[in-house]
Symmetry: C2
Subunit: 480 residues, 2 copies
Amino acid sequence: MGKALVEQLRAAVGPEHVLVGEAAAEYGHDATFMEAAPLCAVRPADTEEVAVVVRACAAERVPIVARGSGTSLTGGSVPLAGGVVLSLERLTRLEVDGPNTVAVAGAGVITAELDRAAGEHGLMYPPDPASIELSTIGGNVACNSGGLRCVKYGVTADYVIGLTVVLADGQVLRLGGKLRKRSSGYRLMQLFVGSEGTLGIVTEVIVKLVPLPRYRATAMVGFATLEAAGTAVARALAAGHFPTAIEILDRASMELVRDRLPPGFEPALEAVLIVEQDGNDEEFVQVDLMRMVEVLDGADNRIAQSSAERDKLWDARRSYGKVLMAMPHNFFAEDVAVPIAEIPEMIRRVHEMARRTGLRIVTVGHAGDGNLHPTILFEDAQRPLVSHAAAQIFRDALELGGSVSAEHGLGALKRDYAEREHGPLAMGLMRRMKALLDPEGLLNPHKVFPEQPADDEFLNQMPGWIPDPERHRRRAELGL
Amino acid sequence: MGKALVEQLRAAVGPEHVLVGEAAAEYGHDATFMEAAPLCAVRPADTEEVAVVVRACAAERVPIVARGSGTSLTGGSVPLAGGVVLSLERLTRLEVDGPNTVAVAGAGVITAELDRAAGEHGLMYPPDPASIELSTIGGNVACNSGGLRCVKYGVTADYVIGLTVVLADGQVLRLGGKLRKRSSGYRLMQLFVGSEGTLGIVTEVIVKLVPLPRYRATAMVGFATLEAAGTAVARALAAGHFPTAIEILDRASMELVRDRLPPGFEPALEAVLIVEQDGNDEEFVQVDLMRMVEVLDGADNRIAQSSAERDKLWDARRSYGKVLMAMPHNFFAEDVAVPIAEIPEMIRRVHEMARRTGLRIVTVGHAGDGNLHPTILFEDAQRPLVSHAAAQIFRDALELGGSVSAEHGLGALKRDYAEREHGPLAMGLMRRMKALLDPEGLLNPHKVFPEQPADDEFLNQMPGWIPDPERHRRRAELGL
């Protein structure tokens, strides 16, 4: 059966675009450490070819895993049930429609390229996941990706105004258009955003664009306590400051990137915020930032006076992944969210757990929207502890009214926490939506929906979760 | 059966909160001219009472129409199949959580009160439908309401981060929370937003808030042609200006409010834009606006130098409803959207149709997001023409890649256009979502889904569509 299907797919998309064996194995892993061998990897040219591939697979009841660049940090694009990996890398048509301030992009367009193309029209595509130079707009839609600029601008879902989706039976569904505002019918589009390829395969995306701010201003502000950093964020917002980004580094993170902090920056601090403002006038942006820094009222601060100084301030945050990679430790990075006032408490719990377990945990995050990335550094002997620690982080986030995933999706890694987060009623509805749109369960199996009770061994039970230092290089390239 | 149910509801919510006869009839109409008599109107106190009411109705298979303030312009809250009108007016609990920059509001909270309460914490709830002083946050969620500030800030859906929904069987579904960012599970919440009470009854809403801008600056810019106004909008955005609002008035509208335009404002213009900028510094906001006016490059302009002057510039737009009401004509107002570059073409088509039919049609709109409100003024003898004209407006909007409803919902008035807008595949999925969540079809029957082919007689076939000048007073109060 498998062989006949592969032949059929070769006829559909051209033999050079159906990969098997070792070539296909390259499509069997993502930026986690999970991997699985697909029957084959297929690279269709356009929506119509995607539909042909899906119909062929559906006829044979063969699973289909859609894939962008494979930068998922949750095993999201690993073909755990085998089947066909449907790579959307050739769907790279890109049109920026300046007069309508929208862009139409094939699912395989790299998000940074979309943003740069918008920039040529004086416009911007705001969501900027750390993986922006590698990940695709299709993958971003699948995971409802966030990024640094989300504080002011929101996440991927807030920009999607049109989608072309190939359904599980191969029908092509076209939703929305170049329209910025609509109050007509159910918001089906939003059901596909964040559904991680389990409800349909997004082949084309229409996004709203916003005016490109011409200038940016950046500052680093240090705080003696986590609480002081937390209340400072709320105070700045309540004073009318609407920053582009508010990144937080805890003390452990500051130690990790100590030599990249500004010279003379007060060393005895518990937290650092990097704040950025953007706008259309160089002076106004700088003055607004300076006032915001005043309101933040930190124990030490630096305000960049040039773009070189801006880059230096960002370096502590941006080099984070590379520094982690260079460590003698292995590491495991997480992505949780809490209501923004709970950030100090969440970080405190992470610290307490680090003390208790002896694990080194460094935490950075997007403080403006409550998104934290605690990263567990560990040596081989500590390996059994990691799963327990990650489970505790998830429990704490949920206890504080948060989520086990802020911007990475659930994938395979966190699927077992879904019901704990959403409750049985919502989960039941999600299962019924899945049954409605993919009755045979062919689209990205073993993702999103829980398969066993979430417990402290969740990582250890995950096939191939064990970190591989080689793979870290790729993660580091993603900017973590 | 009806009588037993009414007794049951009296026991559930207290006899004084179950209205019948004339008192119930008050709940049988909205801001259109449609009306229908409900079996009774019920005013539950909280989510639990709503659930009891819904269970009682479900057991008897009696339709339920949820209702906020009844400001719908599409018959959305008219109980066309009779049954129980479930008024959420008593669900007015309101909590602004400053540190988390969110608000928790009962469905019956008036949206302007929510915004003012946020303001006391230095925060803002941006979506501002014209009905903001009358309509409820629950109604705004049901219709995914927009408003003037949407250009910069987006619509209701962009702010909803938590919902409590009573499902058709009376189960209480709690979605989301005080969390600003989440990439976990399907976005069920967004399915209820804009579903006009047909999928579940929203009883509580959690919304994100943003920093309250301290200052505003306003200008009026006139253009010799519609094209010049249209390209000016795109040019300003591409130059990096991100205004709060960009309202457009066509020549017919300008004539309607002629004596409210600034003295000496060039009379021979085809379009006027009212642009507003907001921000945290009085001078910066004013300077940014002035630069934007320069980029807009109009034939005449006025930049307000004081808040009194700002009010005067806005008066032309804000008094629009009152002026319409004072006319000897009857009128019928519409709400369509097109991609923003199509605004000149859409208005031109409206003008051409006005010339052809002899109807007077005035058009205002939110030019920054393509949302236009053509309003047909007519005398009794012209009545048969109105339905044809409205149908042509819908056809034109769809032909230009737009929608028959930008911010008012489909309700009963526009339901027959839904399939033409969304196509059979999307419509089929919407029907299946409806069947999944409301298998008995008890929630707000005869809304959203088409019941007959959309044709030029759609209005004439709508029971009670015929405008009633008395009712216009209410519409005018809504600010249109």
